[in-house]
């Protein structure tokens, strides 16, 4: 049994933790939350310089050719630091879509720039108003021109290009396209969200130039494949953030005195923190399984991804809300940092399909596994 990260991967974690402790303290998150900047461009450049955006991109496309275990380590630490970066959109989603479905020419064009961080990608699928499905897609494409409205698109206001899902008459009912967001026929505006430390946009396409990514009518299958991988990486970010919430709650409870004793000595608080620890531990162990499944291309990936996603959503939400509760009134103030994980937990929970969506996917994956 070797169900652990390797020594080299543990060293990468130490390095990432040290780097983010130095360069992404809560004040950096707060600066983006309070200000007009959509993300921290200085931090982005440093993260790029560390090679993180190049992690799983093969060396032939100027990446580092490392595994998803390394990317999992980085994801957890970015989540722990609540880094205000377009990392998930560009690396877990846009890069993945190209790795999965890009032609060699598309890979040659995009992957080196994604690895070098000079291009930021995003993934435009949602069209607002509840769950988006292949059937519900209103965005359409014909003759290399794409039209429709996407809302919200994580990092859609800062990205250089988007992977866009549009309806198709054949196959699974959708096709994926690559669209240059600085070209004609694209209007975008930043939308307000519950987590201003991570930027989101509405993008209106009106006959924008679009290049098919993958096969016609295979867009929804691509989305599912990309999401299964992204779900694991999102889950690592969520588990990292959930640990931050636990540590914030613990430190506050140890230092805050009421009735002549630290509030951490009351069972109501102790049991709350123990419950957070339990949920975080279960979610982390499921993330291990997810990381193993992506890194080995295991057939269990749909089950592993959904399991990690469901437990990480639940753990982060619980940890972040009970962290506010543990802080009492101070946790509800703008001045305190409790708001960061509370905001981020729900943002990450809704970004690539909600808890209910993934619960349903999990049972479907189990049904498919048993039918096979």
């Amino acid at each position: 049994m070797n169900f652990e990260f390797s020594e080299e991967q543990d060293m990468l974690r130490e390095q990432a933790l040290g780097f983010l402790t130095d360069h992404c303290p809560p004040s950096v998150v707060r600066k983006i939350l309070d200000g007009d900047e959509p993300f921290d461009a200085d931090l982005w450049q440093k993260v790029v310089d560390m090679g993180w955006t190049a992690t799983v991109i093969p060396e032939e496309y100027e990446g580092l050719g490392l595994s998803y275990l390394e990317l999992s380590v980085i994801a957890e630490e970015l989540g722990r630091a609540l880094a205000p970066l377009p990392f998930s959109s560009s690396v877990y989603l846009a890069t993945e879509a190209l790795l999965q479905a890009g032609s060699d020419a598309q890979k040659q064009e995009y992957l080196p720039k994604l690895a070098a961080g000079s291009s930021i990608g995003c993934f435009a699928f949602s069209e607002g108003g509840g769950q988006t499905t292949a059937k519900s897609l209103k965005t359409s494409a014909a003759g290399g021109k794409l039209s429709g409205t996407k809302l919200p698109v994580a990092d859609g206001d800062v990205a250089d290009f988007a992977v866009v899902l549009a309806s198709a008459d054949s196959g699974d009912g959708a096709s994926a396209y690559l669209v240059d967001l600085s070209g004609g026929g694209v209007t975008r505006e930043t939308v307000k969200t519950i987590d201003p430390s991570r930027s989101h946009a509405r993008i209106v396409f009106d006959g924008a130039d679009a290049a098919l990514l993958g096969e016609e009518g295979q867009g929804w299958t691509l989305l599912e494949n990309v999401f299964n991988r992204a779900a694991v990486l999102f889950a690592w970010e969520q588990v990292g953030g959930a640990d931050t919430a636990l540590n914030m709650a613990k430190e506050y409870a140890m230092g805050r005195f009421a009735f002549g004793r630290p509030i951490a000595s009351f069972q109501a608080i102790k049991h709350k923190l123990a419950n957070i620890y339990v949920k975080n531990t279960l979610a982390r162990s499921n993330c291990y399984f997810g990381a193993w499944a992506i890194s080995t291309e295991a057939p269990e990936l749909p089950i592993a991804a959904a399991t990690a996603r469901v437990s990480a959503i639940q753990a982060y939400y619980y940890a972040s809300k009970e962290n506010v509760q543990t802080h009492g009134g101070m946790g509800f103030t703008w001045e305190f940092d409790c708001q960061f994980p509370y905001r981020r937990s729900k943002l990450l929970a809704t970004n690539i399909g909600s808890e209910a969506t993934w619960q349903d996917k999990l049972i479907s994956a189990i049904e498919a596994d048993r039918a096979a």
Binding site: E4, S285, D360
Partner: protein, 403 residues
């Protein structure tokens, strides 16, 4: 990352498998024996072949195996339909305490017979006035020549009625503060003055007993640790309790409730089609999966010769309430039939109803949910202990329920 055994582990697993496949008792061999007879037959067979209590030293009846080998043994034995064990407390809790605190001569006398199943042991700790607050126990031990004389009552003693020996913690000095006036013994359960009464549980079973002591004599030579050191000795037993009592994954679990949801209807369709049913089942699947892979992480630590981290302490706290909630959910899925508990009429021969009625005990035995949460809060997260109003107070001056 991989789930593979190391070459040494794989060899060991093969050896275990080969032996088990030849030696697990057949139905004919077990025919006519009660559960005690079956458990003893299987234990003796393992002992004779050197497969009993494999982590114990050879001179005590074990095999000198390491922790990962024990895990492999448990996994492989779990794949066979073997008689239920009646030795978990003796092997898992009493023996480690003896190994730590008894004399070498005593261990040579008692441990091999415990390993072979010839002698069964029980644990006499809880009392009517001392459960989660174990150190509040009141059963008295008074010195009389070379003996101690025991008077009082224990409760929740699993297997007392078929046990040969027991470990016992009692109050030797009521004027000392609570934790300092205790002394620990092992005792012959056939001693005159011991009376055992089974306790009927809400599930209808009777696994526990009340044990009454009336002028029961124990030789001082059967004292473990110094007079007044009983609490420290008890901690050895309790540390091992948490290691030996698992999360209770059997019976009502994801698989059985999922299967039930494919058989019973909701809105004229199999219940598994219902979004709420799927959502609830997905959450339990994720919990079970989380426990499983947490176990794999601990196993990896063992495989590397390391001590597992604290993450394994969550098993009982997650597993016990989960069983109760899943059983409750399963009964709801059956609608009005959920109330029917009849092996002839009920789904899964009444397993869901049995789990519903027995799971409250799982959440209490071996440390309540609340005690387990305290342990995680204090030992894992390092939070302060509760403030105790009885600290440093002579035991006989502490207020009680009756005062």
């Amino acid at each position: 990352m991989d789930f593979k055994d190391s070459p040494e582990e794989a060899t060991f697993r093969e050896e275990v498998r080969a032996w088990l496949s030849q030696n697990v008792p057949t139905a004919q061999e077990l025919d006519g024996l009660d559960y005690i007879g079956r458990a003893k037959l299987w234990q003796k067979r393992k002992y004779d072949a050197g497969w009993a209590c494999i982590r114990w030293p050879e001179e005590h009846g074990g095999r000198g195996a390491n922790a990962i080998q024990q895990v492999i043994w448990n996994q492989e034995e779990g794949k066979f339909d073997t008689p239920d064990s009646i030795f978990a407390i003796g092997h898992g809790m009493c023996a480690p305490t003896m190994m730590t605190w008894a004399t070498e001569e005593q261990n040579k006398r008692y441990l091999p017979k415990l390993a072979s199943g010839e002698e069964v042991w029980c644990q006499l700790f809880s009392e009517p006035a001392g459960g989660s607050d174990l150190a509040a126990l009141r059963t008295r031990a008074e010195k009389d020549g070379d003996d101690w004389v025991i008077n009082g009552q224990k409760i929740w003693t699993s297997g007392a009625h078929y046990s040969d020996y027991g470990v016992l913690v009692v109050r030797s000095d009521p004027t000392a503060p609570k934790h300092q006036g205790l002394t620990y013994f092992f005792i012959d359960m056939k001693s005159p003055g011991i009376e055992i009464k089974p306790i009927k549980q809400i599930s209808g079973g009777a696994n526990f007993n009340e044990v009454y002591f009336t002028d029961v004599r124990i030789p001082d030579a059967q004292r473990l640790g110094a007079v007044g050191q009983g609490w420290q000795v008890s901690l050895t037993t309790l540390m091992n309790e948490r290691a030996s009592i698992g999360g209770g994954g059997g019976g009502c679990n994801f698989d059985s409730v999922f299967d039930l949801a494919t058989r019973v209807n909701l809105d004229d369709e199999p219940a598994i089609k219902d979004k709420n049913v799927r959502a609830q089942l997905a959450t339990w699947y994720a919990q079970e999966s989380g426990l499983k892979y947490t176990g794999y992480r601990s196993m990896t630590a063992l495989s590397r010769g390391e001590i597992p981290g604290p993450e394994n302490s969550i098993g009982k706290l997650v597993g016990a309430p989960k069983q109760q909630d899943m059983a409750s959910f399963a009964l709801d899925l059956m609608e009005a039939s959920g109330a029917v508990w009849d092996p002839e009429l009920s789904e899964a021969a009444g397993m869901f109803q049995l789990t519903y009625m027995s799971s409250p005990g799982l959440r209490i035995a071996g440390g309540t949910d609340e005690v387990m949460a305290n342990i995680i809060a204090e030992r894992v997260l390092g939070l302060p202990q509760d403030i105790r109003v009885d600290k440093g107070v002579p035991f006989n001056e502490i207020p009680t329920s009756n005062s």
